[in-house]
């Protein structure tokens, strides 16, 4: 191991490798800012060039492009309430309300720093876990993955928004929408109405943009929030990025816990950052002393998911490298690139190619630092967007949203889905129904169904007696009890 560490250190700290890393971070930050178009598109375009590079340089570039995505995608989430990717949906909950109060710079400062530190903690956690990662993953089986997905859905449904029952209903609706398409086990077409477009289900990006982006844009242009995004309050000293830094310092223990949540969840196959951010958010709500401001612009609601988001990235890498299981579509592409570089994800990456695995860990650390520095440097300029009249922003954003939706499958159905879910999103927002459970229900539906099917096929009823399943079930019940108690207290006070 020590030899591999020394070799990896020697390989990463060269001028060319650092240049590749910074170039990847720069490129990824530009692309990550655009809603719906993420690192995956960038990687797909660059793949023919990447595979001609030497493996270490190629990996460094890939990590640079990928690592910044989880930092840059919070920029539209905070500024416009439009998550740059599904990993930023939790940040919208409190980040956008902060921007409306004139605290966009503070929110971004807290977000970038949390992302950077979360990424570092994630990378070191993974490094420390490498020797025991295989036994750990082998202990978690299909039943445990299923229960983790259920816990994530329940947590998000109950802890976002003030009405637990509404959250559960919306989460259930998300599960139903996720069922549209081919049944994973039988191939039977479910609710496709003979439309080939629906065979693989409705793509996530048009739905997410319709549910989140369009209602916010409509509110902006109809004047519900004034002529500027930051119409809810003056820009004061509390709204600077340095206040965001102080917030992170004040809530350092929350940040550390959230990072660990992200790291461990990121290691679980398929669960990934979509669940990690919400589990961290839910944990912040559950463990916070005064919870009333969550969802209305509480900086803790930015720190927790952002730390978990970047930390889960390291776990995702670990899963891909050690087991060849990509935790996301972007990781699938990265795996394809690795194969073409002559590297087969799996046990050999922890033995024969351990030094390249450590190059990746180093790259994650350095990319997080670079990404944080780069985003932090432009925080003030980015926050200035909230002071622009919305009639300047609207045309640009609406075009970007439509483009991002269309590039899902390049089918007219993407635009139909965008418009359809925009109507649903507007209705939900106006009626006070929480929207995040819909997305999370959709994202986790296939996983939950697949793991449940495999669990019952392989284990019968005996899976209910597995120790980790019992613990996760207990946590789920506790989450429900906690949410009901919180809601009852809030009703009693009102």
């Amino acid at each position: 191991m020590l030899d591999a560490v020394v070799t990896a250190t020697g390989e990463i700290f060269t001028f060319s490798r650092m240049a590749w890393l910074f170039g990847g971070v720069l490129l990824g930050s530009v692309i990550g800012f655009v809603p719906g178009i993420g690192g995956r598109t960038t990687l797909a375009i660059l793949l023919p060039f990447i595979v001609k590079m030497d493996p270490a340089s190629a990996l460094v570039l890939i990590v640079g492009i990928h690592a910044i995505g989880n930092t840059a995608d919070t920029i539209p989430a905070i500024l416009f309430g439009i998550p740059g990717s599904t990993s930023a949906t939790a940040t919208v909950m409190d980040g956008f309300p902060m921007a409306k109060k004139g605290e966009a710079e503070r929110a971004m400062g807290a977000s970038f720093l949390s992302s950077g530190i979360g990424g570092l903690i994630g990378a070191f956690t993974v490094l420390a876990t490498i020797p025991m990662i295989r036994p750990l993953i082998l202990t978690f089986g299909n039943p445990e993955f299923f229960m983790t997905a259920i816990l994530a859905i329940v947590m998000i449904a109950l802890l976002t928004g003030g009405a637990p029952v509404k959250g559960l209903i919306v989460g259930g609706l998300g599960l139903l929408i996720g069922m549209i398409g081919d049944a994973p086990q039988t191939g039977v077409q479910r609710w496709t109405f003979d439309q080939l477009y629906l065979s693989d289900g409705i793509p996530l990006i048009p739905i997410a943009l319709g549910i989140f982006a369009i209602p916010e844009l409509i509110d902006m242009t109809l004047g519900a929030t004034g002529t500027r995004i930051a119409a809810g309050g003056p820009i004061t000293s509390i709204s600077t990025k340095w206040q965001g830094v102080k917030d992170v310092a004040a809530h350092w223990w929350l940040l550390v816990r959230s990072s660990f949540i992200g790291s461990w969840i990121g290691i679980l196959p398929g669960i990934g950052s979509s669940s990690a951010i919400w589990l961290a958010y839910g944990h912040a709500v559950q463990s916070g002393k005064d919870k009333e401001n969550f969802g209305k612009g509480d900086v803790r609601g930015v720190i927790a998911p952002e730390a978990a988001n970047n930390a889960s990235d390291a776990g995702d890498w670990c899963l891909t490298l050690a087991f060849g299981i990509p935790g996301s579509a972007t990781m699938s592409l990265i795996m394809a690139a690795m194969l073409l570089l002559g590297l087969t994800p799996g046990p050999k990456m922890l033995t024969d190619h351990l030094h390249l695995t450590l190059v990746i860990v180093w790259s994650l650390v350095l990319a997080n630092l670079m990404a944080t520095g780069l985003c932090f440097a432009f925080t003030r300029q980015l926050a200035g967007i909230t002071k622009l009249p919305v009639h300047y922003l609207f045309p640009v954003l609406i075009v970007l949203i439509f483009l991002a939706a269309y590039q899902s499958t390049a089918d007219w159905g993407d635009l139909v889905a965008l418009l359809g879910f925009s109507v649903i999103g507007v209705c939900m927002k106006r009626s006070g129904w929480p929207r995040p459970p819909l997305i999370v229900g959709m994202v986790l539906q296939r996983l939950a169904e697949t793991y449940f099917f495999l669990t019952t096929k392989l284990y019968g009823y005996s899976w209910l007696t597995r120790p980790i399943v019992i613990i996760l079930f207990g946590l789920t019940v506790w989450t429900i009890v906690h949410a009901v108690r919180r809601h009852s207290k809030a009703k009693a006070r009102a």
């Binding site: 797909a44 080939l196 196959p269 194969l339």
Partner: protein, 345 residues
């Protein structure tokens, strides 16, 4: 005056006719080797970026152009959905038929043809096939510690009411079709648990002991779990290719152990293994020949072979002309099609 006008008309007509003849000759020359110069050929990958199908398309995009006269540009277009069906429908019905569109052909399309899936908007045998890169075949293996270490052991266990549990991806994936076919051909009973998201998840469950084995593409097994063979963690029962694999010479082929009356079904199985490229029907024959020759030349390219080795694929070539004949024969082979329908329904 009239004779002058008449003369002028005749000269004009002759000039027009000569001009047309020359322009047609020029157009004819365009349909040959000079056509591809300056063109962009789109490779339609029937999946989203990442994964085997996308890797296949990008492999072609990196190596194919230099073997085509005129060195056209190659771009990959991902058309995901329905396990390659949407891409195939697009290729057949919407893509240009002038040689500038190539598509990856998913194995499952053959099974869908057998099942007479109404979602198919094409006839499989009418595509213009470019060629097939690899005809892989599968190793079928079990964990060494299970009581299913040979076909006879499985039959004996079946009599005691026990079945090996195999993991598989989709119903139409080879990981399911091969064990189902073995059931029909060898008279064994297996329990295939399909619905796994991918190969890695199946391998994990084998390692956990939740599954007993699987059917695994030959190259992929060596690429991902060669250590299982070195440590004797698994026992390979059979290989589903016409010849034995030189890396495991002691493993018999399915052909060697299948009863004589079931051997015609093996040809059906071999036909659905491999990574295939095709163009829409109606591509001009001279351009088709140019591209097929280029495909065969690419196959001998050292750099291409190195990339194929990195992906763990076997490097066998079936030319497009042979493939068109094979697919035509397969689609009209009611024994084979009926066999697929039986094992997949």
């Amino acid at each position: 005056m009239e004779s002058k006008n008449f003369r002028n008309a005749v000269v004009a007509t002759l000039a027009l006719a000569i001009g047309l003849i020359f322009s047609l000759r020029y157009a004819g020359a365009q349909s040959g080797e000079s056509f591809f110069k300056g063109q962009t050929i789109t490779i339609i990958a029937g999946s989203s970026p990442g994964g085997g199908t996308d890797s296949l398309a990008r492999l072609l995009s990196r190596h194919f152009s230099k073997h085509i006269p005129g060195n056209p540009k190659l771009v990959v277009s991902n058309v995901a959905g329905a396990a390659g069906l949407i891409a195939a429908n697009n290729l057949y019905n919407r893509a240009p038929k002038d040689g500038t569109a190539i598509g990856t052909m998913a194995t499952g399309l053959t099974f869908r043809t057998a099942l007479r899936d109404p979602a198919l908007k094409f006839q499989l045998e009418k595509f213009t096939y470019l060629g097939q890169i690899a005809s892989e075949g599968n190793f079928v293996y079990v964990r060494s510690e299970t009581p299913f270490g040979s076909i006879e052991a499985i039959k004996k266990a079946n009599k005691e009411g026990k079945k090996p549990k195999f993991g598989a991806q989709a119903k139409e994936h080879n990981s399911n079709v091969v064990p189902m076919a073995m059931e029909a051909i060898l008279g064994i009973d297996v329990d295939v648990v399909y619905g796994y998201p991918g190969t890695a998840e199946i391998l994990l469950d084998i390692e956990r002991g939740a599954l007993d084995g699987r059917a695994h593409a030959r190259g992929s097994l060596f690429a991902t779990r060669s250590n299982w063979l070195e440590k004797n963690f698994i026992k390979v029962l059979v290989v589903t290719s016409p010849q034995r694999d030189s890396r495991l010479p002691n493993v018999p082929t399915l052909e060697e152990i299948a009863p004589a009356d079931k051997k015609p079904l093996l040809e059906a199985m071999y036909s659905v293994q491999g990574r295939t490229f095709a163009m829409p029907p109606g591509v001009p024959p001279d351009r088709t020949k140019i591209l097929r020759d280029a495909f065969a030349a690419m196959f001998k390219d050292k750099e291409f072979q190195q990339d194929v080795d990195k992906l763990g694929w076997n490097d066998e070539l079936i030319r497009g002309e042979q493939l068109n004949k094979k697919v035509e024969d397969l689609v009209h082979n009611e024994l084979a099609m009926g066999f697929f329908r039986k094992i997949l329904q």
